[in-house]
Structures are given as C-alpha cells and as structure tokens.
C-alpha cells in the first residue's frame, strides 16, 4: 500500500506469456461388446483409481404421468439384487472404500462405480449385479418413497429451487422438461414395483446404453472383463415417445412464487433455447459466456461488482436432448429485486443491440480456450465430456475442434447469435420471494401472477 523503490522488473505492465505448448484433447478407445453394448475407454494412469459408468439413454422424460418413475427405478438398483439385499450391497461396496450409485436425469440415467483400481474385479461384480439382476423389492420402494416425499418437502423451503421449478414449468409447459423435478406427492404415491420393473425392462437394454470407463486400466483388460459380465444382456425394442412442443412466449410475463419471510429473491429471466446438438451451440455458448457465463461476464460485473445487488449473477443455455432453455440467475436482497431485474433486462437488450468490442470477445475466447485444458486434468472430467458426445450425438471430433471453432468467432457472429437466440422483449421473469416485500415493484415489467410452490395461483 506504500510506494516501493524501483524493482528489477517492470511491475507496471502485465508480463507477456511464454510460447504456448498446444494442449490436445486426449484420445479414447471405442469397442462394441458381442451383444452390441458400446464401451468407451479413456486410459489415464496418474491416480490408482478407476471410474466405470453405465449410461442408459432414457431418463425422466419417459416417466409418463408417474413423475420420478425413472429416479425411483435407478434408486432401487443398488437396493436389492437376486443375490444381495440393500444392506449387503452397501456393506460390500463401503468395505472396498468404493462408491456405487445410480440416478436418473431428464434424458438419461446412470449407474456409476468408482474404486481403487486394485479393487476393480470386486467392484465390477457389484456393478454387474446391480445392472443386470435388480429385484426392486417392495420394501425398498416404500423406503425410497418416504425419502422422496421428505425431500420434496425440504425443497419447498429453498427459494432457489422454487424459482427454478417455476421457471421450467412456465417455459416448457406440458413438455416433460417442465415437470416438477422431484415429482409430486400424488405421483410419488402412485408408483408401484410393477411400474418400476416395466420401466427398467423397457429402457435398460444394451442397444439403448453404453459404458464409459476412465482411469487406471488398460483397454484390453477392461474390455475382457466387461465382455465376460455383460455379454448375456439381451437387446430389446425401446418404446418411442413423442411430446408436444411448447410454444415460445409472445410477451413478457412475471411469475412470483410466494415465500413468506424470504430475505432474498431468487430470480430467473429467460425463455426457450436450443437442444444440445444444435449446430449453433458453440456460438451460443461463447455468446452466453460473455453475457453471464463467468465471473468477468456482463451480468456479474453489473449486478455484483457495480451494484452490489448479489453475491453472484449469471446466465446459461441449458441444453437437453430435445429442447433447451436460456435463463439468467441471481439471488438478490428484497429491496433491490426490481432494480436487479431492470439491469438484467438492460444487459439482454445491450447484447442484442450493440456489437461487443474486439477486446471483450478476445478475453472471453481466451478464457474458454485456456480453461478448457484446465478442465481436462482428471480422468472423470474427460470421461464426462466424451460421454456427452455419445449422449447427444455430437461429432466425434467435437472436443478436438472445439477451440478452433471458438477462436474463429467474430464480433459480428456474437451479435447475430444474440439477436437470433436471446429475446429480451418476450421473457419469462420468474422469481421466488416475499410477495409482501417486493410484489408491487414488479408491475412495470408485465402482468404479475402470484403462485404457491405447486404453481397454483394465489392472490
């Protein structure tokens, strides 16, 4: 904080970088087992650990009316097989210091094993048992049902969750992406073991699945081990499901989810977006990064660093298999809720109205290209990326060419992309907060509907 005598080097300027060594996205091996099950292997021998993950390419979108059916089904995989009960599975896997867990997302579901590589065989035995011989015991379904009902209740006291759920409901309407992510009391109570068994039989087949492996193992070894364990798993015919597409919004609307006594509002502003395999996805990704994707983005600098409204503000294009959405997010104190929405809208207008400066674009491109290598340090991180290629049908060289495509973008590309995919005049403004404290300040943005946690209108 005080001036120092002159130093050896010039401290007034940032140092210039040394010559860069090119970072390549690592390569991986693909193999198909005799029953058609694809296996993707990324060898990385730096740590003595291994990750094995079975992906099923169907998830909550196949729930039908029984919301959380996929989640319950996969939750039960590790809670009973033809040779082990839930307790035995937990004992055996914990004893290895390993982890075996299963879960379902919107578009896919997973069963994941992580273990020291020296315990690979025992770990794989449990992994195979859970995948191929689950029994879905009645008693365990009841257990999960009670857990789920309690979690549902817990989620309703979380402001961020309330706003997120309401946003999905508004944007996706009757499409399953808009369903309550933890289900409803009614749907949870309606799920039976027959539903669960039927669901697993229908979707968990090798022609609707693949296995990703990463870590301390060589490809030949793991292929032989997986072939021995999974070759008898028969293929099946996967039911095709069609959904109605949601209608894009026509004018700005405000939804306020009431949360009495909240000291902050959780705010989302956004609308429908694009699916993950959209040809413009990388352009959209870069455009969003600049708007709200990192600490130095416009939204964070405005709402946090300039105005001190929030601990953090951002935005994202959440892109699923069939559709996606665009949404900004911030949690702000009650009295600046309307100001924060005003500034958010101003930033959406600015990015669609004015070209970004060359230096701003350079900074964000450098950020994306540089941190891309940092994100590929560990085996599980690389495995997640490779799996996305398979899940969303991306080109095989997606990550090899990612940085070149980012580097090629111009300021004009960003403006065109923003104008095409961000629509500040027809957004859903969705927030949770204390209606008494903030309600009337929202009228200026559009018609305000006040809802309870389940989306029922209250006034």
């Amino acid at each position: 904080m005080s001036a120092r005598p002159t130093e050896i080097l010039d401290r007034t300027q940032p140092p210039s970088p040394a010559a860069s060594s090119p970072a390549r996205f690592p390569d991986w091996i693909e193999h198909t087992l005799s029953n058609g099950l694809k296996v993707i292997i990324y060898e990385q021998r730096t740590a003595a650990t291994i990750n094995v993950r079975l992906y099923i390419k169907s998830g909550a979108t196949a729930d039908g009316t029984k919301l959380r059916l996929a989640a319950m089904t996969y939750g039960l995989l590790t809670r009973g097989t033809t040779s082990r009960d839930a307790n035995a599975i937990a004992e055996e896997i914990d004893f290895l210091g390993a982890d075996l867990s299963a879960g379902a997302g919107l578009d896919n579901a997973t069963l994941s094993l992580s273990a020291l590589s020296k315990h690979l065989d025992k770990g794989l035995d449990l992994f195979e048992d859970a995948a191929l011989h689950p029994t879905f015991p009645e008693k365990e379904l009841e257990f999960l049902r009670q857990q789920s009902l309690n979690r549902l209740q817990l989620s309703k006291s979380d402001g961020g969750s309330l706003a997120g759920e309401a946003f999905s409901r508004e944007v996706y309407q009757s499409h399953p992406y808009g369903n309550p992510s933890l289900g409803t009391e009614q749907s949870l109570n309606a799920i039976t073991t027959e539903d669960v068994k039927r669901y697993y039989r229908a979707f968990a087949v090798p022609n609707n699945a693949f296995i990703a492996v990463a870590g301390d193992v060589d490809a030949g070894t793991i292929i032989a081990k997986l072939e021995a364990r999974f070759k008898a798993w028969p293929q099946g015919v996967v039911p095709e499901i069609k959904f109605d597409l949601p209608k894009p919004s026509e004018k700005t609307q405000v939804i306020l989810v009431q949360k009495d006594g909240a000291v902050q509002s959780a705010v989302h502003v956004g609308h429908l977006g694009v699916p993950r395999n959209h040809p413009d996805y990388i352009k959209i990704y870069v455009t969003n990064m600049l708007l709200g994707g990192y600490f130095g983005s416009r939204l964070n600098l405005n709402l946090r660093e300039q105005h001190g409204y929030t601990y953090g503000a951002g935005s994202g294009f959440s892109a699923h298999l069939l559709l996606g959405d665009f949404s900004t997010s911030a949690q702000v104190r009650n009295e600046v809720t309307a100001d924060a929405i005003r500034e958010t809208l101003a930033e959406l207008h600015r990015i669609t109205a004015e070209p970004v400066s060359k230096s701003e674009l350079e900074e964000v491109k450098n950020y994306i290209i540089g941190t891309f290598a940092i994100q590929n340090e560990t085996a599980p991180a690389v495995m997640n990326r490779i799996s996305l290629i398979e899940l969303y049908g991306l080109p095989r060289d997606y990550y090899q060419t990612f940085r070149e495509k980012v580097a090629a973008l111009t300021t004009n590309d960003i403006l065109e992309t923003a104008q095409k995919y961000i629509h500040p005049d027809r957004v859903h403004i969705v927030l949770s907060g204390d209606a008494k404290a903030i309600g009337s300040s929202l009228e200026r943005f559009g018609k305000v509907s006040v809802q309870d946690a389940d989306g029922n209108s209250v006034s």
Binding site: K118, Q146, E185, A262, G308, E362, I374
Partner: protein, 465 residues
C-alpha cells in the same frame, strides 16, 4: 433451467466448511496407491516459503498462496474481517487497476478464486503453463502493493452481506456451523465463523484495512505453492525477481486459544422460519488437527455416520426410518477441534427420538468399540481418499502448502495415510470414551416452526397397490 434439488445439494451449503476441512485432512497419498508427489521447498530471505512441484502431464500451472490468517485472528468486535479483506484483495494494486486482476487471468485463459477459513486465507490461480509469470505478477503485487479504495469497500460490503444471506440466512440449516462454533468453542476466537456478522463489517474503518494488511499480508506469513508444467530452476529465478523485493514484516501475532472443557451438557434451540424438517446436531470438543487422536476420531465418526453401511445410516435412516439423512463431521482446526453428528428427521418424527437414537449409538460404540470389519472398512476408505486427493494441479499445490503451514511437513502429501494406518481398533474405542462424553455434548435443535408448515406431512398410510 432445471433445478435438480437433492438433499445433498441442500446440505452442500451447510456442509461446505466441514467438507473443506475433512478434504484437507484426507489429503494423504497412499504409499501403495499412487506416484509420489515430488517437490522442492525453500525460504526467500524475506521469509516467504516456496514449494514447487513439476509435472508435465497437462500444460497447466496452478498457483496457490496461503496466508496464515483467518477468522480466529480477528477482533471479537470485527468478525468477518478476514473474509471481507479477501474480497478486497481482488480490487487492485498500485499497478493493477480496480477490477483488472480477474480480467487479466480470464483473458489469459485461466481462473481464480480465494477462500477464508478459521486459520487461513488462500488465493488460487490456474493458468495455461505459458502464463506462469502472470500469476507471479498478480500474487506478488497483492503481497506488495495491495490497494483498497473506498468505492471497492462500499461495493464489497454489499456483496459480502448477500453472500451471508445465500449461504446462511436464506438456507435451511445454514447456520449450523455458526451455532456449533458459538457453543463448542465458546470463549475462544473460534467461537465465530469466517462469514462473521454483517454489522461488524459496516464498522470497519479504512485504517483498519491498512493495519491488517501490514500485519498479516507479509511474506513471512505466507506460503507460495506452484504445481504443474513448470521448470523448477527457471521458476526459482522468477520467484526471486517478483517476490524477493517484498520487505519482511514484523513477527506475526498469534492469538492464544484456550478451550474450556464443558462440565455439563448444553442444549440450544434454533428457531428459524425456513426449517422444513427437524434436525439435531450432537457435537463435542475434539483434538487439534495435528494430534494423532484427530485421525482416530475422524475414522470413528466415519464409521458412525459416513455411507450407507454406517451405523447411523443403518439405524436411523434405513431400519427405523426416523431420519432422512445423517452426516458425520470431524472438524479439526489449527488450535482446536470438534466432532459432530447430524440427523435430519423424517416429517413428524419427534426430535427427542433422534437424540435418543444418536445417543444410544454413541453409548454402544463407547461400550463395545467397533468390529474388525468396520475398522478395516475405514482404513480402506482412507486409502481411496488418499488416492484421489491429488488429481488436479490445484489440489497438489494446495495440499503441499497446507501441510507445510499447519503440520510443518509438506511431505505429508505423500505420507499422511500412514497416520491413519497407525490408528488401532482400540484407539477408536478409546477416543469414543475420551471425546464423546455425556457432560461434554452440545445438542443443537432446529425445530420446525408450527406456523410454517404449509405442506401437509406425507401420509404414510396411503400405500398404493
């Protein structure tokens, strides 16, 4: 945007401080499970401790600077100061304009962050390897020419207050650590948490920032740890050029911490509107992080409360379905420690029943110890933790610096697992009796407010068929 809220996500905010602490003490490196982390370490004449680890597998470099100052070094009427100061250290320096630290790092393809704990404040920057000098420039500027302006102070006051709301006030069970510290560490500078109290942040004057900077942000109170794609000899020269001219500070004052063992159990009732399910926490004072008992007590709490085969999970969650979640948290710091068990009850379960069940498990382990299988399981889990602890360059840099600062032995990055292996089955029973005492327990209840139960309790009688 789909918010996939799981309980783990709710607990994340609660558990963050605990998770950070246990990750640190888990950061051993299995002697038979991984390649050793090679490093060199030395002091500059001004007292800065330097640790360098060279690994060329990925062209990135991680810079980690640890200042040995945290919330326990604060005045009781300035809680939250160290963390607030950490925010201000992103504002700028004599040579870096306000807001540009972040811009330089992002623009170079890197990321950065910082955190404040009870004992330490740390700053990390990850960059492509060819940008190493940028990290050295920024961190040496921060140590040499830190600059705090009024506009930055005012903005960050607001930001920090919002951070407190996000993490604590607006979060179910968000104040657990605050309650635990206030009770288990009463009368010591560990009795408040790094986020501190908003009201004290408003009181801080500009001259206090100057004093804090001159006292703590000095090379003789810091460790610079670099890991990744670097050349050690070249890097030593750069470090000398950037950090050599920084003058040594005065000897750093260290607060005395005298923990008073409790003579009678304590009960605390926390009434908060956003408490959807009843939660109880049982906590006891424990050893400092460097004591051998810390390893034993960590293993014991793990056997009690970590994983689906743990005693508490089997008893409270699985068998009786009294709880929706249980957690064990060993929380060992530089000069004091505690160990706690948390249960979040299922809807409608009386909180006293949770306490009874937790206490029955404690009594059981005190009387009968643990089985050989449980003991072996715990060792195996530590081995896995050790094998996964040093995956990224950032973790390597961080673990090296922490082991040096708080254990006086950076090589624990390679050997800490041995400290777990030294723990015997008998030790586990012994520490259960030594620490988990009836008179030493603090019980904290989060009860569900009566007026705030809009969602009817799930009806257990309605079973579909």
């Amino acid at each position: 945007m789909k918010t996939m809220l799981k309980l783990a996500a709710v607990l994340f905010a609660v558990m963050l401080p605990f998770a950070a602490a246990s990750a640190q003490s888990n950061a051993a490196n299995a002697k038979f499970a991984a390649k050793p982390i090679k490093f060199v370490e030395y002091d500059l004449p001004n007292g800065l401790h330097v640790i360098l680890h060279e690994d060329h597998s990925v062209p990135v470099v991680a810079s980690y600077v640890l200042y040995h100052v945290g919330s326990k070094d604060e005045r009781p009427d300035r809680t939250g100061f160290a963390h607030f100061f950490e925010h201000l250290m992103f504002e700028g320096t004599d040579n870096i304009k306000r807001g540009e630290i972040d811009k330089y790092v992002s623009g170079a393809g890197g990321n950065l962050n910082a955190s404040t704990g009870f004992d330490q404040t740390d700053y990390y920057i990850n960059l492509p390897a060819n940008q190493l000098k940028l990290a050295l420039w920024i961190e040496s500027e921060r140590m040499m020419h830190g600059k705090v302006e009024e506009i930055g102070i005012e903005t960050q006051r607001k930001v920090v207050k919002e951070e407190r709301k996000v993490r604590l006030d607006n979060q179910p069970y968000g104040t657990i650590l605050e309650q635990l510290a206030a009770n288990a560490f009463m009368g010591t500078p560990y009795s408040w948490t790094p986020i501190g109290s908003a009201q004290y942040i408003d009181l801080a004057k500009a001259s206090e920032f100057q004093d804090f900077y001159k006292t703590y942000y000095v090379p003789n109170n810091a460790t610079l740890s670099l890991a990744g794609d670097l050349d050690i000899e070249q890097t030593k020269k750069l470090i000398e050029a950037y950090f050599g001219p920084i003058p040594r500070g005065k000897d750093v004052p260290r607060p005395a911490v005298t923990v008073t063992p409790p003579t009678a159990p304590k009960m605390v009732d926390v009434k908060k509107d956003n408490t959807p399910l009843p939660a109880t926490i049982l906590a006891w004072q424990g050893p400092k992080e460097t004591e051998p008992d810390a390893y034993a007590l960590e293993m014991l709490t793990q056997i009690l409360g970590t994983g689906k085969s743990s005693r508490l999970y089997k008893q409270l969650v699985d068998k009786s379905q009294a709880a929706v979640e249980v957690e064990a948290f060993p929380f060992f710091q530089e000069k004091a420690g505690m160990a706690g068990l948390l249960a979040i009850g299922n809807s409608g379960v009386p909180i006293e029943k949770l306490d009874e069940m937790l206490k029955a498990e404690i009594e059981n382990v005190k009387q009968n110890g643990v089985s050989d299988e449980e003991y072996q399981k715990s060792i195996n889990q530590q081995e896995t933790g050790a094998a996964s602890a040093n995956g990224s360059m950032q973790n390597r840099a961080k673990n090296l610096a922490r082991y040096h600062t708080f254990y006086g032995n950076a090589n624990l990055v390679n050997t800490e697992l041995e400290n777990y292996l030294k723990v015997t089955r008998d030790d586990l029973k012994r520490v259960a009796n030594k620490y988990l005492t009836k008179e030493g327990v603090t019980v904290i209840h989060y009860t569900v407010p009566v007026q705030e139960a809009p969602t009817p309790a799930p009806d257990n009688s309605k079973k579909p068929n």
